[in-house]
């Protein structure tokens, strides 16, 4: 078999692509995933990281709500190391209509979501940071999910099952014979090399950028890019997800995740040209803080770490000739039946937490085309790292007396943390003190998780995500990367890119301690280190 031939090519290294590759690989297909930059760089890594219970959609979109609660329960089983089972509250504030609570709870129950009205006093005890003025509270099974970890674990499992991954590689065109897609032309942005890959089926899982991919294939899908802005706070202010019990609106969800918490989001339609460079505006920042403080008043005095925005890949109804899939949010298009183009599927819409279902739908479509009859097992077989549920237990299984840093590593890598070299002081030395990331964990990520830049490393290990925003650890990690890749020159440019990327999320909220830190970083890198 030719090394450039596969059963299926998946374009897009977000959670949908990674999930689809895993599902295809589990059904015995030879898979190739192609991503133009790094994993989880699009909408996958630019959202709340909320493991929806579905309650948010229960009143207006019961189908999505049912989908969410089903997937919520599945992900708790198969992706436990990526998930924090925090629970969630839907609070009613004095200015909200308390009557909505009953409608909300009934809709939740109808969708199969365990929604329980609790006494406001109990809510205040359950989540001390919640706005004490609340007049009503409903408890739901919300949680939080780390999208980078989830994406990396799916891709890793696909690789364990023989799948191949090409990061930093862009699809530049399709290999087409008549009305059949036979493969893709690609360009590697790092090496400048071009390559052709062949497969009887290609899956477009590029989120909003899928618009560009379908155009390359010569078909039309009407997408609707909707920007959502979010803020990350430097502390985990809340331990329970806090939502507003009212019709979904701006900035009404506060999600705890790892050492931080995230408030969002807004929703604004933007032109396609802006999808690659979405920026958060001062007005959006003001709105997010003002509304966020209504959920948890202490947010108004908590340091903001970063502002960021993602683009939801919504598909506009009027352009979809079938119109069937709109209400569900997930859109799976077989371009053979839709446009007469064989060997090409688009999977888009949906949500981070329904990625597995999207992958199942796409893989079912692939299997139908290839005549493969094997049932989907992604809802039963845990992801690598998630074989055990409690990370404390995992840490103790690997190390007799785990240190804080080792526990932190297990919380990031699950049972895969056993692959980290440890037990000697050189590997245990800390590179990132804010997030307790060791030399061993960084080297394990470089070797096993397809890391080529500092930003890639950040997505996989949280290096540089803490309060110092990479001031110290960026340099240390750069030296480890330079050693692993044997190239210092490339690492210099990488370090500059990393600092630029951090600044991009810092300047929209550049005041107070964030500005102090920024001034310090400017001084250290420009005047002291001589970058």
């Amino acid at each position: 078999m030719n090394a450039n031939e596969f059963d299926v090519i998946i374009i897009g290294g977000g959670i949908t692509g990674a999930g689809t590759q895993r599902d295809c690989a589990m059904r015995g297909l030879r898979t190739l995933l192609i991503e133009r930059s790094d994993i989880a760089t699009g909408a996958t890594g630019r959202n709340h990281g909320l493991l929806h219970s579905g309650a948010r959609y229960a009143v207006n979109d019961p189908e999505s709500a049912e989908e969410c609660i089903r997937e919520n329960m599945i992900l708790r089983r198969i992706a436990s190391h990526c998930i924090d089972e925090t629970d969630g509250l839907f609070i009613t504030l004095p200015e909200d209509d308390l009557g909505y609570q009953q409608t909300f709870v009934e809709a939740c129950r109808k969708a199969g979501i365990n929604a329980e009205i609790i006494d406001p006093d109990l809510a205040r005890r359950m989540e001390p940071s919640v706005n004490p003025e609340l007049i009503g509270a409903v408890k739901v099974p919300d949680g939080s999910v780390d999208p980078f970890r989830l994406c990396a674990a799916n891709m890793l499992d696909a690789k364990l099952r023989g799948g191949q991954v090409r990061l930093q590689t862009e699809v530049t065109g399709f290999i087409r014979e008549g009305n059949v897609i036979k493969g893709v032309h690609t360009l590697n942005h790092q090496t400048g090399e071009t390559a052709d890959y062949y497969a009887p089926v290609t899956v477009n899982a590029c989120g909003i950028w899928g618009q560009h991919i379908v155009e390359l294939a010569g078909v039309k899908v009407g997408m609707y890019p909707a920007k959502g802005a979010l803020l990350i706070f430097a502390h985990r202010v809340n331990n329970v997800v806090i939502n507003r019990c009212r019709k979904p609106s701006n900035a009404d969800i506060l999600v705890p995740g790892d050492t931080v918490c995230v408030i969002g989001t807004t929703s604004t339609r933007i032109p396609f040209e802006e999808c690659d460079s979405v920026a958060v505006t001062p007005d959006e920042v003001t709105l997010l803080i003002t509304e966020g403080a209504k959920l948890a008043p202490s947010l108004s005095s908590t340091r903001i770490l970063r502002a960021y925005a993602g683009v939801r890949p919504l598909v506009s109804a009027d352009d979809d000739p079938t119109g069937r899939n709109i209400s569900r949010g997930i859109v799976c298009l077989d371009h053979e039946t839709r446009d007469g183009l064989k060997g090409f599927i688009t999977i888009t819409g949906g949500k981070l937490m329904t990625y597995r279902l999207m992958a199942e739908m796409a893989t079912d479509a692939v299997c139908r085309k290839l005549g493969v009859e094997k049932a989907c097992q992604t809802a039963e077989i845990p992801l690598p790292g998630s074989e055990e549920k409690s990370f404390e237990a995992v840490a103790q299984k690997i190390w007799e007396n785990p240190t804080m840093a080792q526990k932190a590593a297990v919380s990031r890598m699950g049972t895969r943390a056993a692959r980290i070299r440890t037990g000697n002081k050189r590997d245990d030395a800390l590179i990132c003190e804010c997030e307790e990331v060791s030399v061993g964990e960084i080297n394990a990520a470089i070797d096993r998780l397809e890391v080529s830049t500092l930003t890639d490393l950040r997505r996989r290990t949280r290096v540089g995500m803490g309060t110092c925003q990479g001031e110290f650890c960026a340099c240390r990690a750069a030296a480890l990367l330079a050693k692993a890749h044997g190239c210092v020159e490339r690492e210099r440019a990488d370090l500059e890119d990393f600092l630029q990327e951090r600044w991009k999320g810092n300047f929209p909220i550049g005041w107070g301690d964030t500005l102090r830190e920024a001034e310090y970083t400017q001084w250290v890198y420009k005047h002291v280190l001589g970058l």
């Binding site: 030395a429 600092l499 300047f507 005041w511």
Partner: protein
């Protein structure tokens, strides 16, 4: 408590002013929160192109040895920057290629000294490099704790261990004509860098590490000692919480630690630093000076505070407290009669005094001179 002058802020600027005033016979106090820009000093005064004898003497009398020799210094990431004046243990080279062959020596397990970046940078200039790691059993204690292998901790050990490093380097040295070592020597015992140079049969260059900067902290210690030997009162770990101002004159300030004892003085100097040192504070709506509420020059539209490109000049770094021609602080557009401003709290509002360390020293001397002229 009554002083001739009270200086708020104990960094380079505050100490230069304090030393100058004490030397002229004044009785002064410095109130310092404890951290200042010397803790991340590169060791080279890029901004002092023409230092003048007065500045050289001031440092020499404090035991801070400087050398003046316009040239280039080697940065921690292996690039070169122009400078004319530096601490004695920071070399200034006439040209980038300062040797034929270079031995770069790091400590095993030390991640804050970038030997691979240095090697690549020097090789670019035509010097062949060899990187070696010292494995000193005495450093093992530091390595036990995953975050202890940092510059100052190593430097404390090196005040005792430097001779061992000299011996190890002698063994490693082949035909190299230069050796690069991290700047972790001479924190307390300032003679150590010179003695290392005498002990190794090649040119020894000390290259920087990640902050905190050992040469910077050494400079801070020496200047503070000099100030105290001249009779100055250095209040460490304290900060001003209130100021009493009447009719354009500052009468006294109160500090956190000495809450009920007001510090009275005929003159005051504000040298509280920039944002990092909290001399300037920003919120989403303004940049302000927290002690006296002085006039600050800044842009009202926050969108104009930043350049989205990290490497470009950042407008917010130019904002600063406004002062008149004699460096008297402005409040509501009028100068306060006895409050002078020095150092980076001025931002870039007075470019004639230079930038960075140059600005800190020149404005401190100018402010002290104004007070002494009175």
């Amino acid at each position: 408590m009554k002083f001739d002058s009270v200086i708020i802020g104990g960094g380079l600027s505050g100490m230069v002013a304090g030393i100058t005033l004490q030397k002229a016979g004044q009785n002064t106090a410095i109130i310092s929160t404890g951290q200042n820009a010397l803790h991340f000093f590169s060791g080279s005064f890029e901004s002092l192109k023409e230092p003048g004898q007065r500045i050289l003497d001031l440092f020499a009398e404090a035991g801070v040895r400087l050398h003046y020799s316009p040239g280039l210094w080697l940065t921690p990431l292996g690039t070169f920057k122009e400078s004319a004046l530096s601490l004695e243990d920071i070399d200034l080279f006439p040209e980038r290629k300062f040797a034929r062959k270079v031995l770069i020596v790091n400590f095993l397990g030390y991640h804050d000294f970038f030997s691979s970046f240095l090697a690549e940078g020097l090789e670019k200039q035509g010097m062949s490099c060899r990187v070696r790691f010292l494995n000193l059993p005495e450093l093992e204690k530091l390595e036990q704790s995953p975050s202890e292998m940092r510059s100052v901790q190593i430097a404390r050990t090196m005040d005792r261990l430097w001779e061992k490093v000299v011996q190890e380097v002698r063994v490693l040295l082949k035909d190299e004509d230069a050796v690069v070592l991290p700047q972790v020597f001479g924190l307390q015992d300032t003679s150590v860098p010179g003695r290392i140079r005498q002990g190794i049969p090649a040119r020894v260059i000390f290259a920087g590490t990640l902050p905190p900067s050992v040469p910077g902290i050494r400079t801070q210690i020496l200047l503070k000692q000099r100030y105290q030997l001249l009779g100055g009162t250095y209040m460490m770990g304290d900060e001003v919480v209130r100021a009493h101002v009447h009719d354009g004159v500052v009468h006294s300030v109160a500090t956190k630690n000495l809450d009920s004892h007001y510090l009275e003085a005929a003159n005051f100097i504000l040298s509280t630093g920039g944002y990092f040192s909290k001399g300037l504070i920003s919120n989403p709506f303004q940049v302000y000076e927290p002690v006296f509420g002085l006039d600050v020059e800044y842009k009202e539209d926050r969108n104009q505070w930043y350049n989205p490109a990290f490497k470009e000049d950042q407008p917010y770094m130019h904002f600063g407290v406004k002062a008149d021609e004699n460096l008297r602080a402005l409040q509501d557009g009028k100068p306060l009669q006895n409050l002078y401003v020095a150092g980076s709290v001025l931002g870039d509002t007075r470019p004639e005094f230079g930038t960075a360390a140059g600005q800190a020293i020149r404005t401190a001397l100018h402010a002290a001179d104004q007070i002494l002229k009175k």
